[in-house]
């Protein structure tokens, strides 16, 4: 049989297709790893809930994930593509993200849209899960879903369009750099959660009449700690998804600057360990050690592509130290009941990260035409934008919901426990009943036959 050598054009086509498929494979597995983040949040929040609320917290978390996906398809992706200038949409750029676009479905000429959309959906769902933990055990499921959709499919992605986009105005105008989405994901979600938590109020029994805080312990600390470790595992998918893999050239950040996975590997692991050590130093508690690991990574996230690894380690330590102290401060000083420290870990971690990059990585050049170098003032002002972008809608919407009595479950339902009232099932029916004799007879019957 005669063997014919491939032509240069055939080889070129083969190389390009291999690069394209490798790109798809890379983001496919990043997205899969990011789903582990949600397995982690699920375990984390159920464990942090009391027995009477464990399943309701789980349902809330699962539903947030489920509702973010379609709503991000309906309008989230369009916001990202169109709103990079601020509040004025670029309709031409956004056209590919419209839900009826030919790019938003199987298309043999577009291998990128679906796989990038998928990764961004998981970022979106992460913001909703960050918010979810702060409000467990007393928020209405429906009001939570509405707030989660607004956060996950509108607010954070607007922040991503501004500060995590090749043409985002924060980078073009101020030289903003944030490799690991500490601003648009963590700060926005953390500050959104803070705004809602203020209007939602503390769980019954969280504070004495004189304001003394009473710790409400979750029903399973081991489940919470394992959940946090799963979030860390998923973080590697999250950070992989922060890299642009074009298939035929050097990896880049989302801002177009070159990066290697080696750089991210060095700094992520160093920051993670710093966070654990920092939190251990100030709390000695496993819950805060694992939360500190998250805070550590987030505190170094904007510069995971740039830092000397021991500097990422030190930033991780600062995140691990500051997060539990910040949580204690807002609890004791402002009587805010953030059930899992979401604001302290994600909001404060993101803030440390953005400002830290301004302090330690000023002068790094941007490659976007006309964009200034990374600077302290650019990072500081951008952090302010992210904080406001999260806090204002979270506070404003929840304020309206609270005014019309739509934010919180009735006190009697809260005392009874949301598993029986709302789900209605019990987490561990053979060992510990989750309802009391004060429960309406109709509900007990319904539960027994469910």
């Amino acid at each position: 049989m005669e063997q014919t050598a491939p032509t240069l054009a055939e080889l070129q086509t083969l190389i390009e297709m291999t690069g394209t498929i490798n790109m798809e494979v890379f983001y496919w597995w990043c997205t899969g790893l990011m789903i582990i983040i949600h397995a982690g949040f699920l375990a984390y929040e159920m464990g942090a809930s009391r027995l009477k609320n464990a399943l309701a917290s789980g349902v809330k978390n699962i539903l947030a994930f489920a509702f973010i996906i379609p709503t991000f398809f309906f309008f989230g992706w369009w916001i990202y593509l169109a709103m990079y200038n601020g509040f004025t949409p670029d309709y031409e750029a956004g056209a590919a993200g419209l839900p009826w676009s030919m790019n938003m479905g199987p298309n043999l000429t577009d291998n990128a849209s679906g796989i990038f959309w998928g990764a961004f959906v998981l970022f979106a769902a992460t913001t909703a899960s960050i918010f979810s933990g702060a409000v467990i055990e007393r928020i209405r499921m429906s009001s939570f879903l509405i707030l989660a959709i607004i956060l996950g499919s509108v607010v954070w992605i607007l922040g991503a369009a501004w500060g995590w986009h090749p043409s985002g105005w924060l980078t073009v105008e101020w030289g903003f750099h944030d490799f690991g989405a500490a601003g648009c994901v963590h700060m926005v979600a953390g500050f959104f959660a803070l705004g809602v938590t203020i209007n939602l109020g503390p769980r019954i029994g969280r504070f004495l009449a004189d304001g003394t805080p009473i710790e409400i312990k979750g029903h399973s600390m081991p489940m919470t700690i394992i959940g946090l470790m799963l979030i860390i595992v998923g973080f590697f998918g999250f950070l992989g998804g922060c890299i642009i893999y074009a298939g035929s050239a050097q990896w880049t950040t989302i801002f177009g600057t070159p990066v290697t996975l080696s750089a991210v590997s060095f700094n992520t692991l160093m920051a993670l360990s710093g966070g654990i050590i920092g939190a251990y130093f100030v709390t000695r508690q496993p819950f805060w050690m694992m939360s500190g690991a998250l805070a550590g990574i987030i505190s170094a996230a904007p510069g995971l592509d740039l830092y000397y690894p021991p500097l990422a380690f030190l930033l991780g330590i600062s995140g691990g130290v500051i997060a539990p102290l910040a949580d204690k401060f807002i609890t004791n000083k402002f009587k805010v009941d953030d059930a899992v420290g979401a604001f302290a870990v994600h909001g404060m971690g993101g803030l440390i990260g953005l400002i830290g990059l301004g302090i330690f990585a000023s002068g790094f050049p941007n490659v976007i035409e006309g964009a200034p170098d990374v600077s302290f003032t650019g990072q500081l002002m951008s952090a302010g934008v992210m904080a406001l972008l999260g806090f204002v809608p979270g506070y404003g919407l929840s304020w309206v919901m609270a005014k019309v009595n739509f934010l919180r479950v009735p006190p009697k339902a809260e005392e009874m426990g949301l598993d029986i009232v709302e789900v209605p099932l019990e987490a561990y029916p053979e060992s510990v009943p989750a309802y009391s004799s004060e429960m309406p007879a109709t509900k007990v019957t319904a539960t027994a036959t469910a």
Binding site: P106, S142, P410
Partner: protein, 55 residues
């Protein structure tokens, strides 16, 4: 129901069901939006009903 927008894979681009029918796409998309919004509304009604005993 023939929902295929293509008759051959040669030169195919967007090939998802009803890709050549904007009307069908809008109807399906509209139903998906309604289903999503309806599920949130159902959650509101479920809670209003549930909480009657706990007012």
């Amino acid at each position: 129901m023939n929902s295929s927008p293509i008759t051959t894979w040669e030169g195919a681009e967007a090939y998802f069901t009803f890709a050549d029918s904007p009307t069908a796409i809008m109807v399906i998309l509209g139903l998906a939006v309604l289903a999503t919004a309806g599920a949130v509304l159902a959650s509101v009604l479920h809670e209003n009903h549930t909480y009657i005993d706990y007012k």
